[in-house]
Amino acid sequence: MTVWDVMTWLAIAVLGPGALIIFVAFLRDLARPAASEHPTDEDARTLTRR
C-alpha cells in the first residue's frame, strides 16, 4: 500500500463515516430546546452608527 492509498482511505473515512457522525450530532442538537438570543446585537448597531 502506497502513501497515496493511505491518504485515500483516510479521506474516505473522514468524508463517509465522519460526515455522518457530524450530521447525527447536528440532529441531536436540533432535538434540544432552542438556544437563547445573543445579548450584544445592539452593540453592533451602536458601533456602526458612528
Binding site: A11, V14, I22, H38, E42, A44, T48
Partner: protein, 487 residues
Amino acid sequence: MSWERTAIHPLDLGIVLAYLAGMVAVGYLVAGRIRRFADFFVAGRALTTPILICTLVSSYYGLDALFGDSGDAAREGVVVWFTYGRPYTLALLVTALFLARRFERTGFLTISDVLAATYGRSTQVAGAVASFLYALPILAIMGLAGLGQVMFGLPLWAGAVIGSLLSVAYVTMGGFWADALTDTVQFTIMCVSLAVALPLILDGVGGFAGIHQTVGAGFFSPVGTAPPLYTVAYALTAASVLVEPLFYQRIFAARDRRAVRNAFLWGLLIWAAYDWATTAVGMAGAALMTTGVLAADLPRDQVLLRVVALYLPVGLSGLFLGGVLATAMSTIDSYLLLAAGNLVYDIYRPLRRPDADDATLIRYARVSLVISAAVCVLIGLYFERIKEAWNFMATILTSTLLVPMGVAVLAPGRRPPLAGALASWGGLAAVAVFFLIMHVGGTPYAELETRRLTVAGVEVLREYALFFALPVSALGWVAGAILGKRA
C-alpha cells in the same frame, strides 16, 4: 464553454428532484422563525459546532473545489493538493485559533461592521463593495449551468437562471436559518457521495499504480512543473481566508467561541479530505484521457462528471449528482445571502437609512437576494474557466481588505479613517487597473490557460495581481495614517 449531455436514468432524476423539493420545504418551514435582521442574517447567533461544521464546509466548498480542483489535478497532479491547497490549511488554522476569539461577543454582523468600528463609513463601504463582488457566487452558477446542460440539455443561461432561482427560493424565505439547515443535508450528501464514488473510480483505473503507469511520475510531484511565481501567486490567494466574509458571518453566528473554533478545526480535516478526493478523481481522469477512454481535449472542468458517468451505477449516479447539486446550491445560497447583506446592511443602511428597522432591512434583503442572483448570472456567463474566475474574485477581496482588516484584527481600536479608505479603495483600484491592463495588453498563454504581458523583459501573468495590489494597499494605509494624523 459547452458541456456534453449525459443520459440520466429516471431513478437518478427522481433522487435529484426529491432533494430539490426538500430544500425549498426547509425554507418554508423556518420562515416563521425570522423576526429580526439578526435572525435573518446570523440565525439569532445560536449555531452550535455540528451545524457550524456543516455550513462552513458546504458553503465554502462549491463547484470551484469539485470541478476546478479535479480539473487542475487532471492537468497537474498532486501539486493541487500539496502546493495549491495546503496554504489554505494554514490560513484556516489561524482563523480557527485567533479570529474566533478576537470577535467573540463583539455584536458585529458583517466584516464591514469591523471596518466601520475601526475606520468609519468610507472603509465600511469599500469593504462592502469588495465583499459583494467576491460573494457573488459566479463560480457555482457557472458549474450549475454546466450541470443543467449535462443533465437536461439546457442552454447555459437557462441552467444558470433556474439553478439560481431554486437556491434563492429557500434563503429568501428562511434567511440564514434556512441556509444553515439545508447546509447540513447538503454537507452530508456532498461528502458521502464523494466518499462512495472515490474507491469505485480508483478501482476502475487500476488504482494509483495504474495512474502512475499511464501518466508518469511527474503527476506525483508535490511542487509541480508550473513557473514558481505562478505557484506562489496561487498559494498567496490563501490569504483571502483571513478576510473571507462567509467565515466572519459564521463566527458572528456562533453561540460561543468554542463552538466556532471547534467547527473550524473539524472543517480543516474535512476540507483536506475533500481536496484529496477531488485530486485523486482528477488524476484518474488524466489517466483515462491519456489512454483514450475520455477525449484528450475534454475541458478540464468537465473531467470529474465524465469519470463519474463511467464508473458509478444507476442510483449511485443519482446520489452523486445530488451531491454535485448540493455542492453548488450550498455555496450559491450562502454567498447570495452575504451579497444581499452587503447591499442592504452595509451599503444602503449607513448611506441612506441609518434608522431602518428590522422589518425594512429583511424586506430589502429579500429583494437584494434576487438582484444579486441576476448580477452573478450575467457575470458568470462572461468567464470561461472556473479557476480564472476564482482567482479574480479572491484577488479583489484580498487586495481590498487584507491590509485594513489585518490592522483591525491585530491592533483593535479607532484608526485614522483616511488610512482605511486609502488602503481599501487603493487596493481595489489597483486590482481593477491590473486586470484592465492584462485584458487589453496581455496575450493568451495557452499552457496555463491565462494571459501574460512582458514588461521590461519580465513576464507578468494575470495571476500576479496580488503582487501589485497588496503593496499599493499597504502604502495607501501608511500614507493615510500619516496624513490622517496631521489633519
